[in-house]
């Protein structure tokens, strides 16, 4: 285990760039300006978190009289575990099999399980940070509202510590077995695509199936009976994944018999999955990992005619850079997930969420949406579209994604402003895909009028263009180019978080502006016109700033 600890520490330092960060801050005395920005960014997220806490609080107030409040804990746990299950496959596959340190680790005198455990632990550490914003508001708010004692808080810490283990071990064991048994090593990207899409389908099934089961001939009496028994909602939500029921009961039960029994069940299951993983690692890990540097290629000579046909007949530099961006994003699984797949999937995740409350909530939404020129609906739909389009890391990693290859962009005879413009178009198009996907979902759920949809989409497009330029400026200010694993360029890139916080800040400011206009009883056309004016103005400013900044910054970046 000592060796695992050494590997874990090395992996942790490399993963979070701790050694490099310390070197920059304390030795080179560079990048210190980032500390207050990080603090300000965290402060910027607080309004969103407080919104979530208020929502949880209100839901608690509704559920508590019906003895159904413990379902909140299950929702928190389930949300965290589903997120890990879906995104985990990318992290597991890239950390276990496609990270460049593997060629250095395999020859070391350590057991396969020790290497894998160290990698597993690093992912685990990552996941604690990733799911904190998703799970902790549920655990903390519930604890405060229910007056949880020592037992509650200790169990909550234990459950949180063990929370990522089951989904991660499940994904890891599956990946290790698949890599060993099936010759996916030669089709690794294909494997990641199929695997992740299967897990996304599974996540959808988890959301849809309970509704399908519950929708058959349900009467008011059935609903009343259903809600009269304690934790019926919890049992229903957790029916497809019992560990979340155990987790909820363990936390809420504290040191009571029920609490301890469920805690033992949850921790025991986690340990069981962990042991299965160790067993699979020792037997299968290296067998799947060896030979990974081999690639699935067939040498196919091109005839002179074929070569001539496939030669570009002289694209403009702008198009060449745009096509390069597109190809690299589509062909790098982690970029594809965080840049493209997420903008398509995110709106789809809202369909089941809305249908959960289909009868009263869905129909009231539709009624509101059907009102002629409903300003609030236009603004809400636009906000939904903006969230769906902005929640991808494409713009805020536009320069970082080039990594060690950034020298090419510096060496080619293409003006930095043109390169930045091509990258802008690429990132903006991804945002437009998100707006389009969100528009389809919004229309499906709310049956919107074409005018409402178009007005919202126009607003979202202006906001998306502005946010794209802002995200690119942030990334250009401090591009992360020294990565060895593409995951670091987009998923673990602080610029993505900084851009997100800046976006939230801008949206919050716009929200207050709109609220002031509404309080002043401005006409809907005036509000929308003002919004268009502000967003287009901000876009023009940020785009011009981006192009100017590119000219200044490119020569300064040394990698």
């Amino acid at each position: 285990m000592r060796k695992t600890g050494i590997l874990f520490r090395a992996g942790l330092k490399s993963n979070f760039g701790l050694a490099l960060m310390c070197h920059r801050w304390f030795k080179e005395k560079k990048d210190r300006w980032i500390l207050p920005i990080i603090a300000a960014s965290i402060a910027g997220v607080l309004p969103i978190l407080s919104g979530l806490v208020i929502l949880i609080q209100r839901t608690y107030d509704v559920l508590q009289p019906m003895n159904q409040e413990r379902v909140l804990l299950a929702w928190g746990v389930l949300a965290g575990q589903i997120a890990i299950l879906i995104f985990g496959i990318y992290y597991v596959v890239s950390a276990f099999y496609f990270s460049r340190d593997l060629e250095m680790l395999i020859p070391l005198p350590v057991h396969p399980y020790e290497v894998m455990l160290s990698k597993f632990s690093v992912i685990l550490a990552n996941e604690y940070l990733t799911i904190a914003a998703l799970v902790l508001p549920f655990l903390i708010t519930f604890g405060v509202l229910s007056g949880g004692g020592t037992g509650y808080w200790i169990n909550a810490v234990l459950v949180y510590a063990a929370l990522p283990v089951i989904p991660l071990a499940l994904v890891s064991a599956l990946v290790v077995a698949m890599m060993r048994l099936v010759n996916f090593t030669r089709r690794k990207d294909f494997f990641i695509f199929v695997g992740s899409i299967s897990l996304v389908a599974l996540a959808f099934a988890i959301q849809f199936l309970p509704q399908v089961a519950g929708n058959e001939n349900t009467t008011v009496a059935d609903v009343a009976q259903f809600l009269s028994s304690r934790d019926s909602l919890l049992e229903k939500v957790g029916a497809f994944f019992p560990p979340c029921i155990w987790a909820a009961k363990a936390i809420a039960g504290g040191f009571s018999e029920e609490g301890l029994k469920n805690l033992a069940l949850f921790l025991g299951t986690s340990v069981f999955f962990f042991l299965v993983l160790i067993l699979a690692a020792e037997r299968l890990f290296y067998k799947g990992a060896v030979g990974l540097s081999e690639a699935a290629v067939q040498n196919k000579p091109l005839s002179r005619r074929e070569l001539s046909r496939r030669l570009s007949s002289g694209r403009r530099a702008f198009s060449a850079i745009f096509i390069r961006e597109w190809r690299i994003m589509v062909r790098t699984p982690i970029f594809f997930l965080n840049g493209i797949l997420i903008v398509i999937l995110l709106p789809l995740f809202f369909i089941p969420m809305v249908q959960v409350a289909s009868s009263p909530f869905g129909s009231s939404l539709r009624r509101a949406a059907a009102q002629e020129g409903s300003l609030i609906i236009i603004l809400l739909v636009a906000l939904f579209m903006v969230i769906c389009s902005a929640l991808n890391g494409a713009s805020s990693s536009a320069f970082s994604r080039e990594g060690a290859q950034f020298w090419i962009s510096k060496a080619i005879p293409v003006a930095p402003r043109r390169q930045a413009a091509a990258k802008f178009l690429h990132s903006c198009l991804l945002g437009i895909v998100g707006i389009f996907a969100a528009a389809i979902v919004a229309d499906y759920v709310l049956r919107l009028k074409a005018t409402v949809l178009c007005t919202s989409a126009g607003l979202a497009l202006a906001a998306c263009a502005m946010m794209t330029a802002v995200g690119m400026i942030i990334d250009l200010a401090r591009p992360l180019l020294d990565w060895t694993n593409p995951q670091k360029a987009i998923k673990q890139n602080l610029n993505v978080l900084l851009a997100l916080c800046t976006d939230i800040g801008i949206l919050t400011a716009i929200f207050f502006g709109v609220r002031a206009l509404l309080r002043a009883e401005a006409a809907p056309a005036v509000v929308i016109g003002a919004l268009y004016g502000v967003l287009i103005g901000l876009f023009a400013l940020s785009y011009a700033a981006l192009l100017r900044f590119a000219e200044k910054r490119y020569p300064e970046i040394e990698n």
């Binding site: 002179r304 002289g314 060496a411 005879p413």
Partner: protein
């Protein structure tokens, strides 16, 4: 022609002097080699020539264009191959060459002709449609060299170009260097292998701790001490201070 005038570059807030007041002229039609031990400042000097690093002081001029002030024009007539071929691994070799051809504005006919020549010479034709990710280190080096040759640049700058190449490709590259400079073009490369510098270069500059401590033809350098002594012993003597 490449001209470096009083060029200096330091790292870590001046604590590490990578290049110290370097002045050098490489005339058109010459193969010039930077020779020096590891960490001597060769790569830093080369990166300043191609505009990847900015000098703290001094100027770099390529074919009359100041690399700092007139960067685009200087880049248009110059190509560079780094010591480690970090190129777009997710593109195929053909896509990468097309990209380079597009950004340098190489016409289709010229592109086809040059690609046929170099792909055949470097035995890359069979793997052209495979992703660069699947290439060996040597193959990546060859595709980077082919890309650098594609625009037929007036100035080529190469950092350790022979590392990772098989003997046949290395031999062809030496021929290529000569052919390139016989057309009146300029070539500057770095190496730490004395035999390579001795066989290929019209002139050599020995760089040590960021300073150019000797320069001239092989004969000139040998004459610095005694003509009977080898370049290797001269190099060891000069860099042992």
């Amino acid at each position: 022609m490449i001209e470096m005038v009083n060029v200096s570059k330091s790292y870590n807030r001046g604590r590490i002097q990578a290049v110290d007041n370097l002045t050098l002229i490489v005339p058109a039609g010459e193969i010039f080699g930077f020779l020096g031990p590891n960490g001597a400042g060769k790569t830093t000097a080369i990166k300043m020539i191609v505009g990847l690093l900015r000098p703290d002081t001094g100027r770099v001029i390529v074919e009359g264009f100041d690399v700092g002030r007139d960067a685009l024009r200087a880049k248009q007539i110059m190509t560079y191959v780094p010591d480690y071929p970090a190129i777009y691994e997710r593109l195929t070799g053909l896509e990468y060459l097309n990209f380079i051809g597009d950004v340098y504005g190489v016409a289709k006919e010229a592109r086809l002709q040059r690609m046929n020549k170099w792909l055949e010479a470097f035995e890359l034709s069979d793997v052209l449609t495979n992703p660069i990710q699947s290439y060996s280190h040597g193959m990546k080096q060859k595709i980077a060299l082919t890309a650098a040759l594609l625009p037929s640049p007036r100035v080529m700058v190469l950092d350790e170009p022979l590392s990772g190449l098989d003997p046949r490709a290395a031999f062809q590259l030496k021929d290529l260097f000569r052919e390139h400079c016989d057309q009146g073009k300029t070539l500057l490369f770095s190496t730490h292998i004395i035999e390579v510098a001795e066989k290929l270069c019209d002139r050599i500059g020995i760089i040590h701790k960021g300073r150019l401590i000797a320069r001239g033809s092989i004969e000139d350098l040998k004459a610095l001490r005694s003509p009977e002594r080898s370049l290797e012993s001269l190099f060891l003597e000069l860099t042992d201070k």
